[in-house]
């Protein structure tokens, strides 16, 4: 038997491209006709929402924006839900960008998706946007010590001292909550080393789904919470009652995984089939 092309051999040597094609079709189906399968929310997402919701009125929130254009499909639901939750409350928000794409994403979101003025928010009084600065770890350390040592103007070139909101804000002491956004999984160590360990700064994180496992050792002992990927982003839409794109993306994931399951069944059937038939 061995050497002949048995059914087990065929199962183990399928041309990958068939399953690639099946997977694309399976992803397309819910995009055309959503399945509407409800999502369960987890404690980690509720903790994230509470970290914002429990802030007293007038608290200062700093958002370290480290997002990238290439990963926007994964993180957009978490971003939009977070902006909506922040702007729905009486909070002052300081956005600063650590990636070149950061300002581009914030421009795109605040002009088209979440308009601060629709929430009664006034630039320079309720929120401020500092521009792009490739801070890295040393820059985050300097920012925590003194914002003005890293940013002398906002993203439009206005000196910080001329901005009402920034009058009494210059260091970690003035910040009640840090929302740290990053896409390189090891960057979670930067917020731990430069904000949490030295100053016990209350912090939450937003990162890619693949960085969840690497962030989990720091939750809840050091990070109050973190959202990793579009799943938790969709959960925050539910917990915060701020509908967005997350629900649809997660709905479409449901069938896309089936391509993988096909591969798994065939791969194991092939291996055990050959083994049990002495192939």
């Amino acid at each position: 038997m061995s050497g002949d092309n048995t059914i087990w051999d065929k199962m183990g040597s399928i041309d990958y491209r068939y399953v690639y094609a099946i997977t694309i079709v399976l992803i397309l189906i819910p995009v055309i006709r959503p399945l509407g399968i409800p999502m369960k929310t987890t404690k980690i997402t509720v903790d994230y929402f509470n970290a914002i919701d429990n802030l007293p009125a007038g608290s200062i929130v700093a958002v370290s924006m480290g997002g990238g254009m290439g990963t926007l499909d994964e993180l957009e639901s978490a971003f939009l839900a977070t902006w909506r939750v922040l702007f729905q409350r009486d909070l002052k928000v300081v956005f600063y960008s650590t990636t070149a794409d950061g300002p581009i994403i914030l421009d795109y979101h605040f002009k088209e998706k979440v308009k601060p003025e629709n929430y009664g928010k006034e630039y320079g009084v309720d929120y401020v946007r500092l521009g792009y600065n490739p801070l890295g770890e040393p820059g985050e350390a300097s920012f925590a010590l003194s914002i003005r040592s890293v940013y002398s103007t906002d993203y439009q070139g206005t000196p910080l001292d001329d901005i009402p909101l920034m009058q009494n804000i210059d260091s970690h002491e003035d910040i009640d909550l840090l929302i740290y956004i990053y896409t390189a999984c090891t960057s979670v160590e930067i917020v731990v080393r430069q904000w949490i360990v030295p100053y016990n700064q209350p912090s939450v994180g937003i990162t890619l789904g693949c960085c969840g496992p690497m962030a989990s050792p720091y939750y809840p002992g050091q990070l109050l919470s973190f959202l990793s990927g579009s799943g938790p982003g969709a959960e925050l839409e539910i917990v915060g009652n701020v509908p967005g794109p997350g629900a649809l993306i997660n709905d479409a994931k449901n069938l896309g995984i089936i391509g993988l399951l096909i591969f798994l069944v065939l791969g194991n059937a092939s291996y055990w089939g050959k083994r049990l038939t002495g192939g």
């Binding site: 990958y16 290439g70 890295g136 770890e137 390189a184 999984c185 090891t186 360990v197 030295p198 690497m214």
Partner: protein, 261 residues
């Protein structure tokens, strides 16, 4: 005095300096060093170069779209990858195989990458084998680097594919593309988050710290090999710290605040 919150860091640093100095001194004096267990992936590189010659396909070496980091905290991984580059170049020169080096995005690393390749060819007496047109630069972004490397496998073939050093999402496509186009994959990264891709897509794996051990093993330099013995001292210290710390914590000592000293 030492800044609060760094006492344990200082203790560990002093211990590691002592261990490195002790074993380096032994190596320089030609004394016997602890034996290092074999790492299959190191042997596989030699086997792979031979295979490439039989198939008349080039050997490929890549250290990541962002694998030339020199001034960040991943610099050690860059240097370990360059040790394996040096070894690969020497084997290719000795056996007469064509080598394509995919330069990382960091242009500041280019002098080092080319310098090491040139030195290795010189040591084997084959300086003419260094070809700048086989040192491919694909831009400082994983999207351009990854697609170009995968495309090169398809167009110019791949015999042995060595991928080591600092890898992010950029490793998945080249690893599978090399497999699809018949390459022998040897590689690994010390970034644990991406180790899964190498574990599932290579024929010979360097898992986590094995990247550093392989870098030292291929150096033919006792001082480098002595480094592995120094690391073990660190491991034993950490294991001791873990076990004693757990016992102390169990009897009520607040180890969290002790480590925050």
């Amino acid at each position: 005095m030492i800044r609060t919150g760094t006492y344990w860091d200082f203790i560990l640093l002093v211990l590691m300096i002592a261990a490195v100095y002790y074993y380096m001194d032994k190596a320089l004096k030609g004394k016997e060093l602890p034996r290092i267990r074999t790492i299959p992936a190191v042997e596989a590189i030699y086997e792979g170069v031979g295979r490439s010659i039989e198939l008349d396909k080039p050997v490929h070496f890549a250290m990541g779209a962002s694998g030339g980091q020199l001034h960040t905290s991943l610099v050690s991984m860059t240097l370990a990858a360059l040790m394996i580059l040096r070894h690969t170049v020497k084997l290719c020169a000795r056996l007469g195989s064509r080598l394509i080096i995919h330069i990382p995005g960091q242009t500041e690393a280019i002098p080092l990458v080319e310098g090491i390749a040139r030195d290795a060819y010189l040591e084997e007496g084959k300086p003419e084998m260094l070809r700048r047109d086989d040192m491919r630069y694909h831009g400082y972004a994983s999207t351009s680097f990854t697609q170009a490397v995968a495309g090169t496998y398809a167009r110019e073939g791949v015999g042995l594919n060595v991928m080591v050093g600092i890898w992010y999402t950029d490793c998945v496509m080249p690893l599978e593309a090399s497999k699809i186009y018949g390459g022998l994959n040897v590689g690994g990264t010390a970034r644990w988050i991406m180790a899964y891709a190498f574990a599932m897509m290579t024929d010979y794996l360097l898992l986590g710290e094995e990247l550093y051990a392989a870098g030292a093993a291929v150096s033919d330099n006792p001082v480098m090999v002595s480094g592995i013995a120094s690391e073990e001292i660190g491991k034993y210290f950490v294991l001791l710290l873990l076990i004693v710390g757990l016992v102390l914590m169990a009897v009520g000592v607040n180890m969290g605040s002790i480590f925050a000293m």
